[in-house]
């Protein structure tokens, strides 16, 4: 049985969830890895949109930054940033968006802005919002991919950069949001999904070799666990080979 790194299982599990022909709003790092892994395996017609302006990018190597030349050169079309955000994202043309964060809370709210209670005197200044708030609002659904660390899984984020799922079941529709929000959270330990009753993130799957208590240990709130907890299929040799090949090129 092959072994894998934390980032590898997150990438493989997330890639599996993509269906061919979907449109994905792709950020740099793991999201870009996930989308291109899927494109190189079971979903060759995935339509990748990078916020710098590339529509239908087909990078051979993974870009280091969101506006890499590789993206422009391989895209079906390169458009302006206003067109990306207003027509493509806000206009409702994106199926799946990817987000990560320094903090996520039990309702899937995401913080990429500051750590600490005082915005004006932060303990840590993070990069900020970027495209995240609108990705969270407008994509038909959002997949969050992040390492499962205790400092990151907090009961309540210090700053809501991107609105998640709750706390009320109608929070998003009341705000006029088009998309379903972060309905999949994929970590290196397992998968969380919102409870249909109250939108609280609930552990629905653990990766092979992971125990529920490992997940609880790295989650600051008392974690809800689905009665039908599943175990993810281990990454296959083929999946890992495709992923490592992609990484090696880049």
């Amino acid at each position: 049985m092959p072994t894998w790194a934390a980032d590898e299982i997150m990438s493989v599990v997330a890639a599996r969830l993509l269906r061919d022909g979907m449109s994905c709003f792709v950020g740099i790092g793991i999201p870009s890895t996930v989308a291109n892994l899927a494109r190189n395996t079971h979903a060759p017609n995935l339509f990748l949109i990078y916020e710098a302006g590339a529509l239908g990018a087909k990078p051979y190597r993974l870009p280091l930054s969101i506006g890499d030349g590789e993206l422009a050169v391989t895209a079906d079309s390169v458009v302006s940033v206003p067109e990306i955000f207003n027509y493509w994202l806000q206009g409702g043309h994106i199926d799946v968006g990817y987000l990560s964060a320094a903090q996520i809370d039990r309702f899937g709210n995401l913080n990429t802005t500051v750590i600490g209670p005082d915005y004006h005197d932060p303990k840590v200044r993070l990069p900020g919002a970027g495209g995240a708030p609108e990705i969270a609002a407008h994509c038909h659904e959002v997949t969050v991919i992040m390492r499962h660390a205790r400092r990151a899984f907090v009961p309540r984020v210090d700053f809501v950069t991107s609105v998640g799922l709750g706390p009320e079941p109608d929070t998003r529709s009341r705000l006029g949001f088009r998309g379903a929000g972060p309905i999949k959270v994929i970590t290196d330990l397992g998968i969380l999904r919102p409870d249909p009753q109250d939108n609280e993130l609930t552990l629905v799957a653990i990766h092979p070799g992971v125990e529920v208590r490992d997940v609880q240990d790295r989650t600051q709130w008392p974690l809800r666990v689905a009665p039908s907890l599943e175990v993810t299929n281990a990454p296959t040799s083929e999946e890992l080979a495709a992923l490592r090949d992609l990484k090696n090129r880049s």
Binding site: I28, G29, E51, A52, G53, A54, P63, L64, S65, I66, G67, D68, G69, L71, A72, V73, V78, S80, V81, P82, F85, N86, L89, Q90, T113, Y119, P122, V124, R125, L126, P127, G128, A129, G130, G131, A132, P133, E134, A137, H138, F159, V160, T161, S162, V163, T171, L175, G176, F177
Partner: protein, 268 residues
Amino acid sequence: MAEHLGLSEAISRYVQDGDTVALEGFTHLIPFAAGHEIIRQQKRDLTVSRMTPDLIYDQLIGAGCVRKLLFSWGGNPGVGSLYRFRDAVENGWPVPLELEEHSHAGLTNRYVAGASGMPFTVMKGYLGNSLGEIASHVRFLDCPFTGETVAAVRALNPDTGILHAQRADRAGNVQLWGISGVFREVAMASGRVIVTVEEVVDVLDRRPGDFVMPSMAVTAVCEVPQGARPSYVQDYYERDNDLYRKWPEMSRDRDTFLAWLDESVMGA
């Protein structure tokens, strides 16, 4: 109509202490040479706007040129933090840095409103999140047709927009291709527009996916080969990813940064 100027002359003429200046370029075509000239001329109290501050603004901030930063994502993409930016925010070094924070869509639309000669525009955003609570450039209003609440974002019209492109002709028409970001919006929104270019040519032979910004909308064109390094210029040079990856160790420590600044910018 654009005038051809040397970079030093253009910055000296069109960037004054206290101005609002936008140096844009989304990963591609970042006007580093112009930013370094601003540092060399020791401009002060600037309000600078940029969606992705990147190394260029980390350097301007570390050099003490900046009083206020308008931005939407302040990191070193794919690498990590901007330490001069963080040091200014967390410790006020070398001078306190005021932040005006946006989402990408929010700052983009402020440029769109500015380019459109409007005092504001509307978007779906800032609703329900903490940004909307702290942002003085955002108000909420109800659609007069549907009642839906949307965000109004205030127009941004920089005193000077500074951009980089592949080429210009003698008449000052500017040609660029590849990722254009908010090039058009900043050019149309700014009171004065400086464009640094890789080369000035007699005839801009058109290329697939290119765009020509007419001379009419440009104030000064400066021929500055390599003017976007370490970012990239499509079909001229690649991004210097090694330098981006090394930037944390070059900038995390104040003295290391100052030594780099002295040697690589001030002494250049």
